[in-house]
């Protein structure tokens, strides 16, 4: 067999560009990108796992069965359980309003929904403290009804909701705009109620985007840190989420505990990415079949 390098590049290009030079440029650029990713991303992520199993499996399992870890896990899951459904309902409503109604200030509303993306988590936490905190605006009301928000679970839930607010809306809006409203209008003229139209016509066509948005919101909710660090009093075993647990374990020189918890969080992050890739793959397949 003869070595035919030309087969790899389209014929037209070889006549203009020296192919060896192009081939070297390609290899060089690929290596440069891999070197960058290795130093910034791959090595640190590998280290999460090495650090977690430094004291073997027993050390890892020891952290995972400690009461502090289990409490942090429970609190994180509770925050996710509150934040994700609320953000899904909000995201769907916001998407319906923005994609289906034309009104003045539509772009403005879209920018407001995007705000949590650009606000620093610390500022987000500070905002919540300014309203619900001990010196906050709503403090007289909250004290009158004996409701504690900052330094307890409701504050953590609010911070988690704030961080994940835009994801569902951001994913669903473009799909709603793309599919148009013809089918919905057809359903309405045939006598379907608003709710029936949403359930039978709109929801099926946006389900991939919705699932994608839910995954992103969940991932963000599990990883929320900066704003929770401010609204939670960070009491070990009581108001400590998983990310706060990683932080405090690391600061107390319990690197084993920090990395074991980090592995749990990184595992969830990796899982969300895998689900996302699978969904994108499925979505691409459905579209090529059509």
């Amino acid at each position: 067999m003869t070595l035919n390098l030309d087969a790899q590049v389209p014929m037209g290009e070889t006549t203009v560009q020296p192919k060896a030079q192009r081939e070297w440029a390609k290899i060089g650029l690929i290596l440069l990108v891999f070197a960058f990713f290795t130093v910034i991303l791959i090595v640190p992520v590998i280290y999460v796992f090495v650090g977690a199993f430094k004291n073997g499996l027993t050390g890892f399992l020891g952290t995972l069965s400690s009461r502090e870890f289990l409490n942090a896990l429970r609190l994180t899951l509770m925050a996710v359980a509150v934040a994700v459904p609320l953000n899904v309902i909000f995201g769907l409503c916001a998407a319906l309003v923005i994609a289906r109604k034309s009104f003045r200030g539509r772009t403005f509303l879209l920018s407001v929904i995007d705000l949590p993306f650009s606000i620093s988590p610390v500022v987000a936490g500070l905002m919540l403290v300014s309203l619900y905190g001990r010196q906050g605006l709503l403090n007289p009301v909250l004290q009158a009804i004996d409701l504690k928000i900052i330094f307890s679970f409701p504050g953590i839930a609010l911070a988690t909701i704030l961080g994940g607010m835009p994801f569902v809306a951001r994913e669903v809006i473009p799909v709603l705009e793309e599919i148009g409203s013809e089918e919905e209008e057809a359903a309405k003229t045939l006598g379907a109620s608003g709710w029936q139209t949403f359930w039978r016509v709109t929801l099926p066509s946006i389900r991939w985007a919705l699932v994608y948005g839910i995954i992103l919101t969940t991932a963000r909710a599990m990883g929320e840190f900066g704003s929770i660090a401010i609204v939670s009093s960070n009491l070990i075993g009581r108001t400590q989420t998983l990310t706060l647990f990683v932080d405090s374990a690391y600061r107390n020189y319990d690197s084993q505990g920090a990395f074991a918890t980090a592995v749990v969080l990184a595992g969830m992050a990796a899982l969300t990415l895998v689900i996302k890739q699978v969904l994108e793959h499925l979505y691409a397949q459905r579209h090529t079949v059509k």
């Binding site: 280290y47 650009s118 610390v122 500070l126 607010m165 990683v246 990395f259 990796a270």
Partner: protein
């Protein structure tokens, strides 16, 4: 006018204000008020308690000025690195076939999914004097963790996906045949890149870079762990806000927080304008 067209007109009749207030509207406004708008207003009202002179004095203390300097300087470096490497990564992913391509494409999003506290703990360990990567720099007297270099690396890490993910789809649309046409007309490789490939992807590059910069400026979790958080050395503005809240200095925290908020609003505006510009280029 026929009967049918009158009916059609009635069907399309603009709704009254009351009819517009549907359930989705109520949900959107309630959720947004409780979670975002009321806290935002509360923060602004907190700042209004101070008179302008007091505000200015608190916003421009030497420590505050040094944190702006460090935050914006380091975020600029991180944004430029991401602009160059992100564009290159998008290019490599769109144009080349190589082993590990799917893996690379898959891990680009990892910094978004990985909690920032995890990123901070890991980067601080890997880049300290005896860490896996830090040990190679230590002999040359370069300290990465607990210095501004470490802050920059944390900022690069957390904002890595922005440029790649905004440039990638636009680059996909640019046909390779256009480049080939430029070459066959005798353009050099540099000219082809500068005059043919770059112009259509510039809006996407700038949008991604602005997003990366905004994220880097506001980043807290990973930076607080990799930095030593020493004033005038590697203390960034978000960490200063956090320290002031911890120290119960609420006015001080409010002022710096408001400066950061204002900046993120300006950046959001710039990003929206860039995106509008990109769409115009599209059409």
């Amino acid at each position: 006018m026929t009967l049918a067209s009158t009916e059609f007109c009635q069907f399309n009749r603009p709704k009254t204000v009351l009819q517009k207030v549907s359930i989705p509207w109520i949900v959107v406004f309630t959720h947004m008020s409780v979670i975002l708008l009321l806290p935002l207003v509360a923060l602004l009202l907190r700042a209004l308690v101070l008179n302008p002179a007091q505000f200015w004095a608190l916003a421009t203390t030497p420590v505050a000025l040094s944190t702006y300097n460090i935050t914006f300087g380091t975020a600029t470096v991180a944004a430029i690195v991401n602009m160059l490497m992100g564009t290159l990564t998008a290019w490599v992913l769109v144009r080349y076939e190589f082993p590990g391509k799917r893996f690379l494409d898959g891990i680009v999003d990892l910094p978004f999914a990985l909690p920032t506290a995890v990123a901070g703990v890991t980067l601080a360990t890997v880049y300290n004097q005896s860490g896996w990567l830090g040990q190679f720099f230590a002999p040359f007297g370069i300290q990465i963790a607990f210095s501004r270099v470490g802050v920059a690396i944390a900022m690069i890490f957390v904002s890595l996906p922005f440029v790649v993910r905004t440039v990638q789809p636009v680059l996909q649309e640019v046909e390779p045949t256009i480049e080939e046409a430029a070459w066959s007309l005798g353009a050099s490789q540099f000219d082809t890149f500068w005059k043919v490939i770059l112009p259509p992807i510039i809006p996407a590059i700038l949008t991604g870079t602005a997003q990366a910069f905004a994220r880097a400026v506001g980043e807290f979790g990973s930076v607080v762990l990799i930095a030593a958080n020493i004033p005038f050395q590697d203390l960034i503005a978000p960490v200063l806000v956090f320290q002031r809240i911890e120290g119960a200095d609420i006015p001080g925290a409010t002022v710096i927080g408001l400066v950061l908020l204002l900046l993120s609003l300006i950046l959001l505006l710039i990003i929206n304008l860039l995106q509008a510009w990109g769409r115009r280029y599209d059409a």
